[in-house]
Subunit: 338 residues, 2 copies
DNA sequence: CAAAAATTGATTGACGTACCTCAAGATGTC
DNA sequence: GACATCTTGAGGTACGTCAATCAATTTTTG
């Protein structure tokens, strides 16, 4: 039993090859009953389109654009590495990647970068976007222009993007809290949350999730109000030191970046609080091994990139997409499994 | 700049298409200097073989056989589900999967199943194998017969298989210990390890890793000798109850299967020990949610299946393989992130 | 019923590689 | 120089789909 081809379909449907082709590729101009005959024939023969042949014949190329913040280090560095790795693998699959670095936290630059894109220059856009209205307006324009727009890492309101690829940040916060409660145990002192910015949706969601589980399962712990470190080491350090002056800390949840400031601040404290952070960067890995971090919650950037590409492909080909295919699982790392 | 083809290579090398083909597909009968010219031309043109076209032309089919224990439930159930899921996706990639169920723990049946395979009936074999000599002999025969043999889930001595796909079980044990120590905290009581069989390499490695970290980082905890539950609920239950009679338990590390017996045994204990288990089966998921399990270490069966297939493909095509491409990362689940 | 419109068939040429054959040229051996 | 052996060229067919054309047929419309 060999694989059936369009010829087999045509023969069993008693129509010509051309008609089968018209049905398969929705070229229109086919009578209802013929469509039906073809579909039935596909059913009985068990025909599946041979993707290798189809792609070869089409010679189609997908041009996808990734807009990511330009920071070389930290999480975005990992993401850029993942993109470069994918680039090689994707040559075989007729996908061309363009990675555009935009200054982090620069709304105007982000909007400008998006504005320069159109359906003529790209077949899909994945962007680590902020909630700024000018950025979202550009995303909406692209989307209505027929260019699929995927929100990466941080979600946006449903109306502004075609899909989201990234972790469920509420779950991430909840998970952090579960481990925090367990690790802190009977220790005394406050629990400090340092977010990057509470205007960033991903950080806010993490804080929310963290708060929920803390209230549900560890009400005896003293959860301090969340502070904003703006992902900069100096601010994070200052905030940590300030909190330590207020009283002893049992735990710290570093929701965003700027981790080196945190580690600096804790260097001299003789009874280090339980510290949980996000994203397994090189420095996070080192901090885990040296004991400066207790646990890291990672969103696999490589998996995110892959999911984004696969989703953009489905969207450009108008294939139905699985609503939660963009959700990437969280990985949890401690010293022993980095 | 379009993608260069073999024609371009032939033209820049000033040889015929046939010669390029001979070089590319190692058909032999080409003078040294011609080979050199072709390789140089490949270099300067930046030629990469178009896999879609190549596969289409070859019409090659990969027939891979998976030998897995026949238990419908638990981890092997997950693996069989993953295999079925892959089967559909693989139709597009000219890969045909054959899944053979062999009675668990039945050495003779396993050896017989392997014996029935040859290079004529399959292009690669992935097997969840035991260390029994008759099984390993069959694996060695297949391998020397030119059929790649991949050890799945549990590793084997290097000489007996072509690759290993599965978790690093020593790391798994170490990770379990790290969380166990943290979760137990100041609690008093023994730490019980229940393995399936200490003759199973994967279980033994986990126990080893667990012991190491316990000794290094939590020497104050009372680690009891590992017992063997043979993956059967009744035995596991009996062992747990016996341990409880000996004295209070602070933690239990369920290295293997038979978890339902464990949960049975603990149902009435009023101060439940910290319980860590392996593999996120349906029942493990439920137990996490209900609080009967504290943590689950999962080896993503779907990822394992994919890795195994990709490796077998590389092996059959004689491509060089990355020695640690078969190592699948561990996933850690608690109630909050299942 | 005739004209217009819709539908269908037949055919052809890509896409890039694999694989095969046959003849011709180059090189080496005695 | 005759012969065998090695190496190369030229050319064709196949893989399964896509895309397009043009003519032939059927159906619809007034």
């Amino acid at each position: 039993m060999v694989r059936p081809t369009i010829h087999d379909v045509a023969r069993t449907a008693r129509v010509s090859l051309a008609t089968v082709d018209r049905v398969l590729n929705k070229r229109g101009g086919v009578a209802e009953k013929s469509v039906k005959k073809v579909l039935e024939a596909i059913e009985v023969t068990g025909y599946v389109r041979d993707l290798t042949a189809a792609n070869l014949s089409r010679g189609r190329e997908y041009r996808f654009t990734f807009l990511v913040p330009d920071s070389q280090t930290g999480f975005m560095g990992l993401m850029r590495t993942a993109l470069e790795t994918q680039r090689a693998a994707l040559r075989d699959h007729r996908v061309k990647l363009r990675v555009v670095a935009v200054p982090a936290f620069d709304v105007a630059a982000q909007a400008a970068a998006l504005a320069s894109l159109s359906h003529r220059s790209t077949d899909g856009v994945a962007v680590v976007a902020t909630e700024a209205p000018e950025v979202q307006a550009e995303m909406a324009r692209l989307s209505s222009d027929g260019v699929p727009v995927v929100a990466l890492v941080a979600d946006l309101p449903r109306a502004k993007r075609d899909a989201y690829v990234g972790p469920d940040n509420v779950v991430a916060g909840r998970t952090a809290a579960a481990f925090m409660g367990r690790f802190v145990g009977a220790r005394r002192g406050g629990i400090l949350m340092i977010a990057g910015s509470l205007a960033a949706r991903d950080h806010m969601e993490r804080v929310m999730g963290f708060r929920m589980v803390m209230a549900e399962r560890f009400p005896q712990l003293n959860l301090l109000p969340a502070v904003q470190g703006f992902d900069t080491p100096e601010t994070v350090k200052a905030l940590t030191l300030a909190a330590l002056r207020e009283g002893p800390l049992a735990g710290i949840y570093a929701v965003g970046a700027g981790r080196s400031g945190l580690i600096d601040a804790l260097r001299d404290s003789f009874d280090r609080p339980v510290t949980i952070a996000h994203d397994l960067t090189t420095s996070a890995r080192a901090a885990l091994l040296s004991g400066e971090l207790d646990l890291v919650i990672d969103q696999n950037p490589a998996a995110e990139v892959q999911a984004a590409i696969s989703l953009m492909r489905d969207l450009t080909d108008q294939r139905p997409i699985n609503p939660n295919s963009g959700s990437v699982p969280l990985s949890i790392f401690v010293r022993e499994n980095v």
